[in-house]
Structure formats: structure tokens, C-alpha cells
Amino acid sequence: MSSEQDEESQSQPQSHGQGEGRSIRCLVAKVGLDGHDRGAHVISRAFRDAGFEVIYSGLHKAPDEIVQAAVQEDVDVLGISILSGAHDTLVPKIMDGLEEYGAREDTLVLVGGVIPEEDRPELKEEGVAAIFGPGTSIEETIEFVRENAPER
């Protein structure tokens, strides 16, 4: 963690939100048969250091399980990490599940991983707010979450 980032997180403690105890809650999810979780771990840690509350799903979760966790934990942000190439089937399933519980509207859904350029418009249409490919800086992701986490 760079010291620059530490300063940033301290200078804006829980900058977002109205309630005094408000803190951004995120679910970092690994979905499908994809065993690469280093990225998810790095993001979880970075989010934690940014002052967010992070729930990590663990590996090999089905879309239903991700939906269940997102609904029960009432997360503001759902970050889905996919490196298997199955994003075009898995992400819509998750979005439909969120819809079922009325959670699609006000959950900020992000996708991280290897997503080819030509698949991105489709995911955005599904309701994914942003896609962070390889080489995205951690600061950029955190900044995006801070600015776009839904007000509830």
C-alpha cells in the first residue's frame, strides 16, 4: 500500500453518505469455475484500507449464491471478478437474481478481470456500471466506488 493512498483514505473518512455510522459495504465475488483469486484478494485488502467494509465470497460460487450474499448483506457495491471468460453467461444470471429481490436498481455492480472489448457493451446493457480490466490502478477503482456508491 502506498503512503499516498493511506493519506487519501484518512483525509476522507467515510466521506460518502448521510448517517453518522455509514460505511460503504462491498461484496467481492468470485463466480464460476475460476480459481484465480489473487486479484480479488488485492481488491478486498485495498477496499478495506480505503475504509470500506468488504465481504469476500470465497471461490467457485454459483450466481445464486452471490445474489443471496449481496441481498442478505445489503451491499452497496458488488464487485465480480471473472477471469474464466464466462462473464457473458454468469453476469446476466447475477443481474436477474438481483432483479428478483429488487436489489438491481441500487446496487453498484462492477466487473473486474479479462473482459474482451467487444463483450463490454453487452455487460453495460445488463446494468454493469464499470468494467476494470488488467492494468487498472487501485486508486481509480476506489475513486469510482466512492463517487458512484448509491445513496440510500
Partner: protein, 369 residues
């Protein structure tokens, strides 16, 4: 209460999961209006059994809770779980990882798992936990499990929200049993020696037994006035100590000797016995009348905590509007005054107002009934 909150409350009572999740968030956030919501919840509570599970990090709490939830579900009961993890004292951030261990019941919405972080609010977490329990109770959960790392006073307060507290002691914590003695071991209604297939499990069980017997003999700890009764029995029929203890355990419904259960959570071994002991403790509470006493104490503590937090918030507000604490702190630094003098100056007018706080009137309202 505003219309949105009323809708949310209605949705919770109708069994909508998202409404429950949203209300717990409001409770956690101390969002505007959350108090009215919790007030309303109280009318719908009182049906759930609340179980607290605590123990050192890595003792196997989450895994055991997972198996517990699975077994309750097999018996047709619905389960709510509140898993509490520490938050960073520096950034307030947290990684809440208990959910990963709770895989047996995943996909089953009748197990509602909620992760909460400590958020660094002094005393506030136990209030938030108690309120979240109320929300799950009103939702209609049969069993509510609170899981937290047993590290200090704060955690002890949290599990006290529960009717029955189980403390996990992994094998090989012989030395730490000593250090824990004055802490979480005292609040155990049931001891669980988890990872009982490991070396040293027997020894840990023995040490716990020894501790309980010493406690019983001198009459302190969870077993209450057990010691005195044992003495009386001994004097009466001249049996030796061991017999006297067994007798009192069976005869005196006022005594509860915490049982020690051995489990292997990863395999599910001993979970049924554990559940039986939890149920036995619950019926002991009800039969002996201890339950009413316990609930009364808990509410007394809740009232005190609320009053403390509110008075504190009032003063903080005054302090803020007067320009904050920095100037006063600077005056102390430069030696012009001291913290006690300042506290005294601030509180004297508050103390004068206290005569106007008509607590007796509040009490009288309920006396007449």
C-alpha cells in the same frame, strides 16, 4: 415513522429478505428514523432462541455455526446468523470473512447470514447487535446465532445479548485457559472443545472440568450458589464431595453446571449433542425462572446504554456548536486549565437541569398497570 420506513417494516413482517437486510443496515448506520423502526419491532419479538458463540480466532466458530445452522434447518427451523468481525482502528475498513465458512446452507434463503463489523463505536456494537437480533426475531427466525471473536469486554457484552452462550476452547489452549479465566470463560453456559480429534483435546476437557469444579466448590462463576448447596448436602447425609455435587446437579433446579461438549466442526461430529445441551440450557432458564431475570437484566442494560449514548450525543452536539473540543484541549496543553475543571464547568448546569428530568413520571406510567 415516515411512509418509507413503514413500508419497510411491513415488508419485513411479510417475510421479504431485502427488507430485513435493509433494516439491519439502518440499525448499523444509525440512520435517521432507525429508532422508531426498532421501537415498532419490539411488539413482534420474543419467539426466537438467541445463541451466542464466542472463542479465540481460529477456534472454529464459523464452521461450527455453519453445522449448527445446517442441523437446525434439517429439523425444519429457520436460522438467522450475525457474524461480527473486527474493523481496522485506523481506516474503519474491515474484511468480513465468516461467510466463507458457512457453505453448508448456501442457497437456502431461510438461513440469513449477516456480517457486521465493529466500526469502532464504543458500546454501540452491542446495541446494534441487540437491535439486529430484534429485527431477525420479528422477521420470524426460530434460532438466532451471534458469532464473535472473544477478545475483550466489548465482545462479552455482545454475546450477553444471547440467552445461551457457548464458548469454544480449542485443544492446546491450556495456558490461555488460565489467562481467559477472568474473561469469557465466566460467561459460558456451554463449553465446546472443538477440534476434539486433535492431540490435547482430553487434556483441555480435563482442565475445564477442573476449573468448573473449583468454581463450584468456592461458589463463584456461572454455577452461582452451587457451592453452598453442595456443602449443605454434604453435612446432611455425609456423602463425599463428588456425590454431593452430582446430587445437587440433579436435585436443585436453580443450578446450572456448564456442560463440556466435544465437537469436530469440520466433520459435524458432536453437533447433535451440542444442540441438545443448548436446548437443555434454554429449558433450565425457563424452568428455574432465571430467564425472566436474565431478560430483565438485559433490558436494564439496554436502557442504560441508550441513555448513556444519548446524553453523550447531546453533549457532543453542544461541544460542536460551541466550536469543538480543540480550543479546550489547547488550553489544557498550555497549562491554563485541566480536563477535570473543564468537565466540571460543562456539567454543572447539566446537573442543575437533572431535577427537571421526571423519571418518576415515566415509572408511574407503568406502575399503575
Amino acid at each position: 415513522m415516515n411512509a418509507d420506513d413503514q413500508d419497510l417494516l411491513d415488508a419485513l413482517l411479510e417475510g421479504h429478505h431485502r427488507a430485513l437486510a435493509r433494516i439491519i443496515s439502518k440499525i448499523e448506520n444509525r440512520a435517521p428514523g432507525y429508532r422508531d423502526l426498532v421501537s415498532e419491532l419490539y411488539a413482534h419479538t420474543g419467539n426466537a432462541d438467541v445463541i451466542g458463540i464466542t472463542g479465540s480466532p481460529g477456534a472454529g466458530k464459523s464452521t461450527l455455526v455453519d453445522k449448527l445452522a445446517e442441523t437446525y434447518r434439517e429439523r425444519g427451523e429457520t436460522v438467522g446468523i450475525i457474524a461480527i468481525d473486527p474493523s481496522s482502528p485506523f481506516t474503519g475498513g474491515a474484511v468480513l470473512g465468516d461467510r466463507i465458512r458457512m457453505a453448508s446452507t448456501i442457497g437456502d434463503m431461510d438461513v440469513f447470514v449477516r456480517s457486521m463489523s465493529a466500526r469502532g463505536t464504543l458500546g454501540g456494537l452491542s446495541t446494534a447487535t441487540a437491535d439486529a437480533v430484534k429485527a431477525m426475531d420479528a422477521f420470524g427466525k426460530d434460532k438466532i446465532i451471534i458469532e464473535t471473536v472473544g477478545a475483550g469486554q466489548n465482545e462479552v457484552d455482545i454475546v450477553r445479548t444471547a440467552d445461551t452462550v457457548a464458548v469454544l476452547v480449542p485443544p492446546g489452549s491450556g495456558d490461555s485457559v488460565q489467562t481467559l479465566k477472568a474473561g469469557i470463560l465466566e460467561i459460558a453456559d456451554v463449553f465446546v472443545v472443538n477440534k476434539a480429534d486433535r492431540d490435547g483435546a482430553d487434556r483441555t476437557v480435563q482442565e475445564l472440568q477442573e476449573m468448573l469444579h473449583i468454581g463450584a466448590d468456592v461458589g463463584f462463576g456461572g454455577s452461582g450458589h452451587h457451592g453452598a448447596d453442595a456443602m449443605a448436602d454434604t453435612a446432611g447425609d455425609g456423602t463425599d464431595d463428588t456425590d454431593a455435587e452430582t446430587d445437587t446437579d440433579a436435585d436443585d433446579p436453580d443450578d446450572w453446571m456448564p456442560p463440556i461438549v466435544e465437537t469436530v466442526a469440520t466433520k459435524g461430529t458432536g453437533v447433535d449433542t451440542f444442540i441438545d445441551e443448548l436446548a437443555a440450557h434454554k429449558s433450565f432458564l425457563v424452568d428455574s425462572g432465571t430467564h425472566a431475570e436474565k431478560v430483565r437484566q438485559r433490558y436494564a442494560e439496554e436502557i442504560r446504554t441508550l441513555l448513556r449514548e444519548d446524553v453523550n450525543a447531546l453533549l457532543e452536539g453542544e461541544l460542536e456548536s460551541a466550536g469543538g473540543v480543540d480550543e479546550l484541549a489547547e488550553a489544557v496543553r498550555t497549562g491554563e486549565t485541566d480536563p477535570y475543571a473543564i468537565a466540571n464547568d460543562v456539567l454543572t448546569p447539566v446537573a442543575d437541569c437533572l431535577s427537571e428530568a421526571d423519571i418518576e413520571a415515566v415509572q408511574a406510567e407503568f406502575d399503575s398497570e
